[in-house]
Symmetry: C2
Subunit: 199 residues, 2 copies
């Protein structure tokens, strides 16, 4: 599934290297990964790798950026295609959860290795995270304003709804919940319950 996130990346050698980094980071974590094995996984020499990426850190950063950008697009698209806070929240959370199911290996790397990013790289990724969070929060806020939703703690509830979706990457697939579509249906419903939707 990593292909879906990286499929637009050009040239092909840069894409192959990022896919190899993805596999090595997933298998042993960022700190234990070496640029030598990442290059080898893409059928290249370490020297050829440096044409495309400055360092292992650069690979993690590109992977994190592409993962977050793909996720932001999915959430924005869902928001734009629905009307009214309840259907917007259902669509956004369904899409966000399904993305974490379909791309669970990429999502795990991106989430669990956030603290392995340098400060500047982390900040660039964090700004995308804040935009995704803001989109979710603003829909919850609108639902409160229109009287559709009822929550005691807006930031806490928005955080919990987001967190629920992110954690899909950790457990997916489960015995009874093994397609991104099924996750989307259940999670859209759960999010509306969490915000006390009265529609």
């Amino acid at each position: 599934m990593a292909d879906a996130v990286f499929s637009h990346l050009q040239p092909a050698a840069a894409r192959r290297l990022l896919l190899s980094a993805h596999d090595v980071f997933a298998a042993k974590g960022y700190h234990a990964a070496t640029t030598r094995e990442i290059a080898a996984g893409a059928g290249m020499s370490p020297a050829a790798m440096y044409i495309h990426y400055r360092s292992k850190q650069d690979l993690l950063f590109q992977l994190s950026l592409l993962g977050h950008e793909a996720c932001e697009t999915v959430v924005s698209t869902a928001l734009a295609q629905a009307r009214g806070p309840a259907e917007q929240l259902r669509a956004m959370i369904g899409a966000f959860a399904a993305w974490h199911a379909a791309n669970h290996t990429t999502a795990r790397i991106v989430q669990y290795e956030l603290t392995s990013l340098t400060r500047d790289n982390f900040e660039a990724v964090a700004s995308i995270r804040r935009r995704i969070d803001a989109q979710i929060s603003s829909v919850v806020e609108r639902g409160l304003a229109t009287g559709s939703f009822e929550v005691n703690d807006l930031p806490g509830t928005a955080l919990a709804v987001t967190s629920l979706c992110v954690d899909v990457a950790r457990w997916f697939p489960a015995a009874n919940l093994n397609s991104p579509h099924d996750v989307a249906v259940l999670y859209g419903d759960l999010a509306l319950r969490m915000v006390g939707c009265k529609d």
Copy 2:
């Protein structure tokens, strides 16, 4: 906070080694950690370490076992102290979420390095996980039987409620949610919403 999970461990040298492993695993992940630096962190030689633990795998296994056992105790205690499905679910989920807040570094290691355990070690830990899941599921089931709760997908909803709590370890603390007690209060409420509690 790792002290709380490991405080009963004897002898003191075994406890110091496990705390050092905890810190090294948290900093760079299991695969990049070396027994040499774990021993050094406990002020010991690698040879002295082998008196207490056979390997780095053994340290991860003990850490995972103690973490899961502590968590199971917290959930069982909460269940035993409350009456009726709604109050039992609120208490269990509050305690489970608060544990992941208070012990977030231990919980992160234990969750994210599950796949680094050998098959037998994983199975021993997985059996504790299944017992915790079963306790949560059985309360949701009782709430459905008494008509207190209403859910469309029992295993999916129980999984989501558990997942919500586990993911606290990833983000805790947050700006507006920075004490385990506040997490417990919000999450107990959210769990009741997720199961459609009508009480």
